[in-house]
């Protein structure tokens, strides 16, 4: 049963890293898409949303083509830094990040679109620089929406299976996350292990939901 705890720790590590990356990318891209009009914006929006609707195995295949040692990114990393991404826990992070990205991006974009541009204009007339306008006005006003997107993306990353299996494989103690471990245990007929893993996964999900309830307070955001 010790393997279950290793898988749990790895799963939490992968999901946390993926969520942290999505905080950066999802919020940045969501803000850009909410504020700037440019040709091809709708197409870009569709492309960025694609990971949400595409089968994870297809996504995993795309990633394999890109970051595999013969793919453009993978070959470059190998040549310049000697890094092989495939079948590492970092590859699992990349897979989870890509799969969960649209959840943060969509939530952030919607949240920023509800922020009155006039409030940002008011901040500018008060002598505040552009970065400060973002951190003092736009982000705090959009934060609740972003946070709910982040929690969803964390939950999605916890349960990631298809793309992760394609790029990170199923190496026990190294890249075997909870959901993959469950699959392997069932395939191998280890019912005890499977039961235990399923129980651990369920409890983890309940804990995440409880934490989510604490993090996103129920009170209504102050409005003018």
């Amino acid at each position: 049963m010790e393997g279950a705890w290793v898988a749990l720790a790895l799963t939490l590590k992968v999901a946390s890293c993926a969520t942290a990356l999505n905080l950066l990318f999802g919020v940045g891209v969501g803000y850009a898409m909410a504020r700037w009009r440019f040709p091809g914006r709708d197409l870009l929006d569709a492309l960025l949303t694609l990971p949400m609707v595409m089968p994870p195995t297809v996504l995993g295949y795309y990633l394999l083509v890109l970051i595999g040692s013969r793919g453009p990114i993978g070959a470059w990393l190998l040549q310049h830094f000697g890094i092989r991404l495939i079948f590492t826990w970092q590859a699992a992070v990349i897979a989870a990040t890509v799969v969960a990205f649209p959840l943060v991006f969509k939530a952030a974009r919607a949240a920023f679109e509800t922020v009155e541009p006039q409030l940002e204009e008011a901040a500018r007339t008060l002598g505040i620089g552009e970065a400060a306008v973002f951190f003092r006005v736009s982000l705090p006003l959009a934060w609740r929406g972003i946070l709910s997107g982040l929690l969803l993306s964390f939950a999605r990353a916890l349960g990631e299976f298809g793309a992760t299996l394609m790029v990170a494989g199923s190496i026990p103690g190294k890249t075997q996350t909870l959901s993959i471990a469950v699959y392997e245990a069932v395939q191998a007929g280890q019912d005890d292990m499977a039961n235990f893993l399923v129980a651990v996964t369920s409890l983890t999900c309940i804990a995440v939901l409880l934490a989510a309830g604490k993090l996103v307070p129920g009170r209504v955001a102050p409005r003018l």
Partner: protein, 228 residues
């Protein structure tokens, strides 16, 4: 005191086109931009504040060149040192009254602290506008008149070179409007700060302006014989 403004801008909203072409200059410290709604008054004030960019022209206020398309000058809004009171006040809903007023005094990426003593300048405006009792409340928790004073205090706290007021009484009922109009007139007299006021109310002109620019359909209009 000089207002020297000449602006053109082509505005497009969906299929509607609107040509804004406004030029006026005045030595009056208290100037009003007067005209019916839809005349483009708010567009003009936004271009003065640096929120909206004119196609051509210049903006010189109190001897400072804020915009000049021929010379390639276009100061960003944050460097124009103009106090702008928005029509619906645009108070920051996530900040308390005290934080709203202190917003301009706090540099960096963090908002003024939620608790603790406010800087002296903030205290002064809290006292002057009788806002001490609501200093810790949020904009949605205070009255319309208080919101208007918070917006005014927030704009004045960093000692702007001029004050831009966009229909400052539009959101208020009639009785309150009269009282706040008197307050604003007293404020103009004590601070001696140049003000540009947007209004379509004759009473505002009487109390708060020395000179009037009439506007209609995006152009400066000749003063009507009777303001019917």
């Amino acid at each position: 005191m000089d207002w020297n403004v000449a602006l053109t801008k082509h505005l497009r909203h969906e299929d509607a086109h609107f040509e804004l072409e406004v030029a006026f200059s005045s030595h009056a410290p208290r100037l009003a931009l007067f005209g019916p709604s839809g005349a483009g008054k708010t567009q003009v004030i936004k271009m003065l504040a640096g929120i909206s960019r004119p196609d051509h022209g210049h903006v010189r206020i109190a001897g400072h060149v804020l915009f000049d398309s021929a010379a390639g000058v276009n100061l960003p809004a944050r460097q124009r040192r103009l106090g702008y009171v928005f029509q619906d006040y645009a108070l920051f809903p996530h900040l308390t009254v005290q934080q709203n007023i202190g917003f301009a005094l706090q540099g960096g990426w963090r908002n003024p602290a939620l608790r603790g003593a406010a800087p002296p300048a903030v205290q002064r405006w809290l006292d002057a506008f009788h806002l001490q009792p609501v200093a810790g409340l949020y904009p949605h928790q205070i009255s319309g008149g208080q919101r208007q004073r918070v917006a005014l205090a927030r704009a004045l706290v960093h000692e702007p070179a001029a004050l831009l007021l966009d229909e400052p009484f539009a959101a208020l009922d009639k009785a309150l409007r009269q009282r706040l109009r008197d307050e604003l007139r007293d404020l103009q007299a004590t601070l001696r700060i140049p003000t540009l006021l947007i209004t379509h109310d004759d009473d505002d002109l009487q109390a708060l302006a020395d000179d009037v620019v009439h506007m209609s359909a995006g152009k400066v209009a000749p003063a009507p014989q009777s303001s019917a």
